[in-house]
């Protein structure tokens, strides 16, 4: 798979080879409304505040829009396990025409831009800039609507997603600090409009003398362009929009509010590598944004995240202390926006829903986060409600396990050992060098404390239901509780209790041990059943047909219903299907065909002597039919051909099945058993297992008590 992607933007006209064409995407912001068109919309900003936006910011907005669109239109590799994730990373070549060519071509700008984006989305970036030909008016694509009178001149722009963290940020700015701010919201879906409006009204009621300004931005494109859902570059467009609005207002400060645990987003399990865990507000990304915006604006530009050292639980408490807890119910954290309905604003199983619910409970604010708004109860319901049950189980199990592991870590260096990804953030944290790692550790420790306290609390609350086993087996509380109940599959005997030689069914697989060695599992395969039957009658030559039929019957018994299988005659040793069908034609008939053919040959000779060519041709067709019949019935040396020898088929199939199990499974787990079976098993119509040493096997199936 080719990872190179060529993105031709606007009026740029690069010369690409024909091989590149198949990996080329064309995008434009200006011009006609076709399938390649991207639309940006910024609502509710006063026209009187509008001033000419510098060319570099207009270029930056173009670049960010194209990067975001290319991110969504170019799928990442799906078969990432086979390639160790190599195809997850794309190699983007952007061809973009810009207004300030010298600036964008400078080595410093390219370095900051490419490094920041590469770390943000885990892709490779290469920008080829050219001079813009047609300078469109800025307003033609930034669509302003202006219905609201602005209250105070804002001091900074604050990104406002509508989740708990950003609500906490708005409360901190507007209610606690009384700062005049402009809240910029990126509209992901129209579904959230009503809730957003409610949140905005509520926030305004809390900020009586310090009403914040609000701006909503929308980026859309044709649905056919949505081919990759991961959207790792989203925050680049988001911060660019915020910075452009800040520039229009004469400001140079954009603020994110996101809790530090999500900001660092350390991997919850081993296969979450690189950008698999988003780096939206990672300290290195925030630093990169700040460096880029400083270059673009030509003066110091600040991008920061004041909640970097806080957990979500602490943010929820901050909201509560400011007497704004009623805002929590209308905040939306769920990322599964397609599942949001009037009744359920949260799915209850995505990572954000899990994190939110734990944080709210840790802060003791469950009264402000009604359980009814979740499609499922995170703690007590089965994950089987989810379409992606396996992914969701993996997510919540690893979320809990990470909290448990952090709880057991006793120092910052052990934390660094366990989560080396934290090293990528340390140089960019606003703290003295020696204190950075301990503070990260403290924050994760606080978070794990919150998670574990919530689990303890919920276990106490649902203790009876757990004990009575009335909760679903895969509900969160059941899997963290050590019930010590017998389980149906992994019934396990201690090694000392296990006989020296074991070959027996255990659930759908087989438990095997040889000469006191280590027990291992052989997966269900018909050959294993054959071996089991041989081992059960050592020294006895057993008909292969009998074993095969017996195994088939056993298989049917296992899969269907024993009674049905018996009624269908599948256990019979004398299955008529297995008998030879005998010769295709008997010898007498063949002799008659031959006589008839000789007669016809004589007639052909006579017709040819009479120059009767028509008759010759007719007789030749007739004789051909006889010969054909004879040839299909008679083999070399005049022996009559037999139909398929079913007994031979069974004999071969038996041998192949047994050898396959020995070579593909047993040999890898215990080569001495593979050698033993190969040496002491003979095949043929009557296979036999005859060990010289009179070895005895435990063959009865594992039964759970």
């Amino acid at each position: 798979m080719d990872i190179d992607r060529y993105i031709i933007c606007g009026d740029s006209l690069p010369q690409l080879s024909t091989e590149c064409e198949s990996n080329t995407t064309r995008l434009h912001i200006y011009g006609s409304d076709d399938d390649c068109k991207l639309n940006l919309r910024i609502d509710e900003i006063q026209k009187r505040l509008y001033k000419e936006v510098p060319a570099r910011f207009r270029d930056l907005l173009d670049i960010a829009t194209y990067v975001f669109a290319a991110d969504q239109t170019n799928p990442r590799g799906a078969r990432d396990v086979e390639s160790f994730g190599s195809f997850w990373r794309r190699r983007f070549h952007f061809f973009i025409s810009v207004r300030d060519l010298e600036f964008w071509r400078s080595a410093e700008t390219q370095k900051v831009l490419c490094e920041t984006l590469s770390f943000l989305s885990d892709d490779h970036y290469d920008f080829i800039f050219s001079e813009i030909k047609h300078q469109s008016s800025f307003q033609t694509f930034l669509n302003f609507t202006d219905d609201e009178v602005r209250r105070n001149l804002p001091e900074r722009v604050v990104m406002f997603s509508g989740g708990v963290d950003s609500v906490g940020g708005a409360v901190e700015e507007v209610v606690n600090q009384k700062n005049p701010v402009l809240l910029v919201n990126h509209r992901a879906t129209q579904k959230l409009d009503i809730r957003y409006e409610k949140l905005r009204r509520l926030l305004n009621t809390k900020a009586t003398n310090n009403l914040p300004s609000h701006v909503r931005v929308t980026v859309n494109k044709k649905k056919s362009m949505n081919r990759e859902y991961t959207q790792r570059s989203r925050s680049f467009l988001f911060v660019t929009l915020g910075a452009t609005i800040a520039e229009m207002l004469g400001l140079s400060h954009v603020r994110f509010y996101e809790n530090g645990v999500i900001s660092l987003n350390l991997p919850i399990c081993a296969h979450v590598v690189g950008g698999n865990a988003t780096r939206t507000t990672h300290p290195r990304v925030i630093h990169g944004f700040q460096s880029l915006l400083t270059l673009v604006s030509g003066k110091p530009f600040c991008v920061d995240n004041p909640f970097h050292w806080n957990t979500k639980g602490e943010i929820a408490k901050l909201i509560s202390r400011a007497e704004c807890a009623d805002l929590i119910a209308d905040s939306i954290s769920c990322t599964h926006t397609w599942e949001i309905s009037n009744q359920h604003s949260h799915c209850g199983y995505c990572s954000q829903c899990i994190d939110r619910r734990f944080a709210i409970l840790a802060a003791g604010l469950e009264n402000h986060d009604p359980l009814e708004q979740y499609r499922m109860d995170i703690f007590t319901e089965s994950r089987s409600k989810s379409e992606h049950i396996n992914e969701d189980k993996t997510l919540f199990a690893n979320y809990l396990e990470r909290a448990n592991q952090v709880d057991l870590i006793d120092g910052p260096l052990q934390f660094l050992k366990k989560f080396p990804e934290v090293a990528r953030a340390l140089p960019y944290l606003d703290e003295s060098v020696g204190a950075r790692l301990p503070r990260c550790f403290d924050m994760y420790k606080k978070h794990s404390g919150e998670v574990n306290r919530v689990i303890d609390k919920m276990l106490a609350e649902h203790g009876r239901a757990i004990r009575q086993r009335s909760l679903p087996p895969d509900s969160m509380l059941r899997i963290v509780y050590e019930s010590r109940l017998p389980c149906t599959v992994s019934a396990k005997l201690g090694k000392e209790d296990l006989p020296e030689n074991v070959f027996r069914r255990k659930g759908e697989a087989w438990q095997v041990r040889f000469q006191g060695g280590k027990e291992f599992i052989v997966l269900g395969h018909k050959g294993v059943g054959y071996i089991h039957q041989l081992l059960s009658r050592p020294g006895e030559a057993i008909s292969a047909v009998e074993i095969v039929c017996g195994s088939a019957a056993e298989y049917c018994n296992y899969l269907i219903v024993a009674r049905t299988a018996i009624e269908d005659g599948l256990t019979s040793k004398h299955n008529p299907l297995l008998d030879t069908l005998g010769a295709i034609s008997d010898k007498q008939a063949i002799d008659q065909y031959r006589d008839e053919a000789e007669r016809l040959l004589g007639e052909i000779d006579r017709a040819r002597a009479d120059n009767n060519e028509v008759l010759v041709r007719e007789l030749q067709v007739e004789i051909q039919a006889f010969l054909s019949t004879i040839h299909t019935s008679v083999g070399i040396g005049g022996r009559l051909k037999q139909s398929g020898d079913k007994q031979k088929n069974i004999r071969d199939s038996f041998r192949s099945a047994v050898k396959r199990v020995i070579d593909n499974q047993i040999k890898h787990a215990d080569s001495s058993l593979a050698e033993h079976l190969t040496k002491y098993t003979t095949f043929g119509n009557h296979p036999k297992y005859q060990p010289l040493d009179g070895i005895s096997w435990e063959l009865s199936a594992v039964v759970n008590e």
Binding site: D80, S86, T230, A277, S351, E391, L400, V433, P473, C487
Partner: protein
């Protein structure tokens, strides 16, 4: 914000066997052996991975730095940005950054490089931490770090460092595949009735991987000493790449026979 992309195992016969073995209660050695067999294609795909190769190269630079009178200066000259009065944390940060800087624009970059970054950081902390006083971990004197780095030039110490690296790398690689499926076997009536049982399996797997990585320990030390001698104190990239390929293959082979060796 804060999304995490989780993956699943391919639906090939080999991977289905791995899943079935877990479900049926196979022990870690057998699961590891089946995983290595199923992952054969993955490992062959990344045999030239730039991240992994650069991590091994940095490992050797730690050993070579120890031979220098100014180990920190040596590392800085070789792309590892460490301040003069650094701590273990800053050594780890410097190595992590050096790895990222060397690979972020490379085409042959895969997840193995990220797993190698984890392994390198872990190995350095594991080997350096005991050498330094507990009370000065975050404010170490330059001489302490210098002394700790100098030790890596010794054959035995380099062997230990290499062993730690491959132990974590093996475990991470194994979990890279298995963490996609293990938690799906959670719940009463399944392989892991509770998370404690799953944690026991994880611990056993870690021990198994650690044992498998022992095979590189002695060889690493000998290889390092030999090449320092043969190449006059500067081991070439080609030599490092050869060692990296050998070590990965050797551990994979060890895991393949691991289940068998444990049997008898």
């Amino acid at each position: 914000m804060g999304h995490t992309r989780l993956g699943a195992l391919p639906r090939t016969r080999a991977w289905r066997d791995v899943v079935q073995l877990i479900a049926a209660g196979a022990d870690t050695a057998q699961v590891a052996e089946a995983t290595i067999r199923a992952a054969e294609k993955s490992f062959s795909f990344v045999q030239d991975d730039c991240g992994y190769n650069h991590a091994v190269w940095l490992l050797t630079q730690l050993g070579l730095a120890g031979r220098s009178s100014d180990p920190v200066g040596y590392l800085r000259e070789h792309g590892v940005n460490i301040p003069e009065n650094s701590s273990i944390t800053e050594v780890v940060v410097g190595l992590s950054e050096a790895l990222d800087n060397a690979t972020y624009q490379e085409i042959t970059r895969s997840d193995l490089g990220d797993l190698a970054q984890r392994a390198l950081c872990d190995a350095v902390v594991t080997r350096m931490e005991p050498k330094l006083q507990q009370q000065s971990l975050f404010d170490t004197r330059a001489d302490d770090i210098k002394a700790a780095l100098s030790d890596f030039s010794k054959e035995k110490e380099f062997a230990h460092l290499s062993r730690e690296f491959y132990s974590r790398l093996t475990c991470e690689s194994m979990n890279y595949f298995l963490s996609r499926t293990l938690a799906t076997h959670l719940g009463d009536g399944q392989r892991f009735a509770t998370m404690n049982q799953m944690a026991e399996f994880d611990n056993a797997l870690e021990t198994h991987c650690r044992e498998a990585s022992k095979i590189v320990e002695q060889y690493s030390g000998e290889w390092f000493s030999l090449h320092v001698y043969q190449e006059h104190g500067a081991i070439s990239r080609d030599s490092v790449q050869g060692f990296a390929s050998w070590a990965l293959k050797k551990i994979n082979d060890e895991l393949r026979v691991g289940a068998n060796a444990n049997g008898h």
